[in-house]
Symmetry: C2
Subunit: 198 residues, 2 copies
DNA sequence: TACTCGAACATACGCTTCGTATGTCAATAT
DNA sequence: ATATTGACATACGAAGCGTATGTTCGAGTA
């Protein structure tokens, strides 16, 4: 335990701050989360925070980067067992909707993130999952499955639809029932991109 | 000018506060807008604010209600000259996208509103334009134009798609060109709801 | 090994801002 | 005419953010 590398200790403090921030931001929201409480929860003070992340927004950015990476991994894992490329694409969308049901992702990624840092497409990380969706659509266009629309535009619309679905579901009295309806509508809507009808 | 009714004066102070809040919230964002500055701009003090609106969130709510009413009126006006009910529906969506390009609507309705007050569907006003979209889809389902999906689910997805399109466009270098692409993709996507292909 | 230096973090301070508590004035009711 | 209440201003306290200023400890060097 003793005599650890300097870099290791820095990484650990950063990790502890990010972890505390994730729970605090998710529970109280970005604005209501106190930096004093947050850092104390991590066994540190605000000094560590401003040294490592610059300011409160910097910490939020770090939290978002971490969550975004996790979401990307889960989306990758979601489209493994489908037959066609189109089904894999749909599975990604459904996975996104389901992930967005988690309060942590809702609050941080969908509500506070855009409000504090601006449009997600302008974030340094450029939201990996959005990039993934764009690439998937582009491949589907190339192989003739999807109409020749602008891939990024389609990805943006699909993404927004899934996002709003998630917000709707999360606020519903019976999230499970609403989830079914939303997923069904999502499949129908997405079918508008298909070149031919089934 | 003299001896106006009490109620008139109250209405005017409320209107002046809301107007000042609209510009301040749109320019600096909700969090960065100072109540002192805002009320001073309106020729008043914070006393008037807390008396009329309870707190800062109450003022935001009042601002949102006003903007929402305006958006509803503009959506109604947008679908006047189309032939079919479906085209009128599409026009509504396009109108929504175009409205969302305005910084005031972007910042207040799409970014800060949900972050501060939570999911729009839970707002007291229940976002009139969302209700309108739901009703329009329901009518299209009833007359056989649209597949029998859940109307509210479809409205939510369509709304989210349009919303994200607007965010994307507003942040783009060339908003006009991106708008075209987004509208085209929106039409294609929405066509997924149609019962038969054209 | 002793010394220096700088990174990593803690502490202290000032400034801003929100919400409330209190005060004031005018209009209305009796 | 006076009491009362609504509408707003002023005063106050508390909390939070960012920065400026320490303080400690590891790492490089001779």
């Amino acid at each position: 335990m003793v005599a650890r590398r300097r870099a290791e200790m820095v990484e650990e403090t950063r990790a502890r701050l990010i972890r505390a921030a994730r729970t605090a931001f998710a529970a109280k929201g970005y604005a209501a989360a106190s930096m004093d409480d947050l850092t104390a929860e991590a066994g540190l003070t605000r000094g560590a925070l401003y040294h490592n992340f610059g300011d409160k927004k910097g910490l939020l950015q770090a939290v978002i980067d971490q969550i975004d990476a996790e979401m990307l991994a889960r989306m990758r894992a979601a489209h493994g067992q489908a037959d066609t490329a189109w089904d894999r694409f749909l599975n990604e969308g459904v996975a996104y909707i389901e992930m967005s049901l988690e309060p942590e992702i809702q609050r941080i990624m969908l509500l506070d993130g855009p409000a504090v840092l601006g449009d997600p497409s302008q974030w340094p990380n450029q939201t990996a999952c959005l990039r993934t969706t764009t690439q998937a659509i582009q491949r589907l266009i190339d192989d003739g499955t999807v109409k020749p629309v602008d891939a990024e535009a389609a990805a943006r619309l699909i993404n927004g639809a899934a996002l709003n679905a998630a917000l709707w579901i999360a606020a519903a009295d019976d999230p499970h029932a609403v989830l079914e309806k939303a997923v069904e509508a999502f499949r129908q809507l997405a079918a508008g991109l298909l070149r031919a009808e089934a």
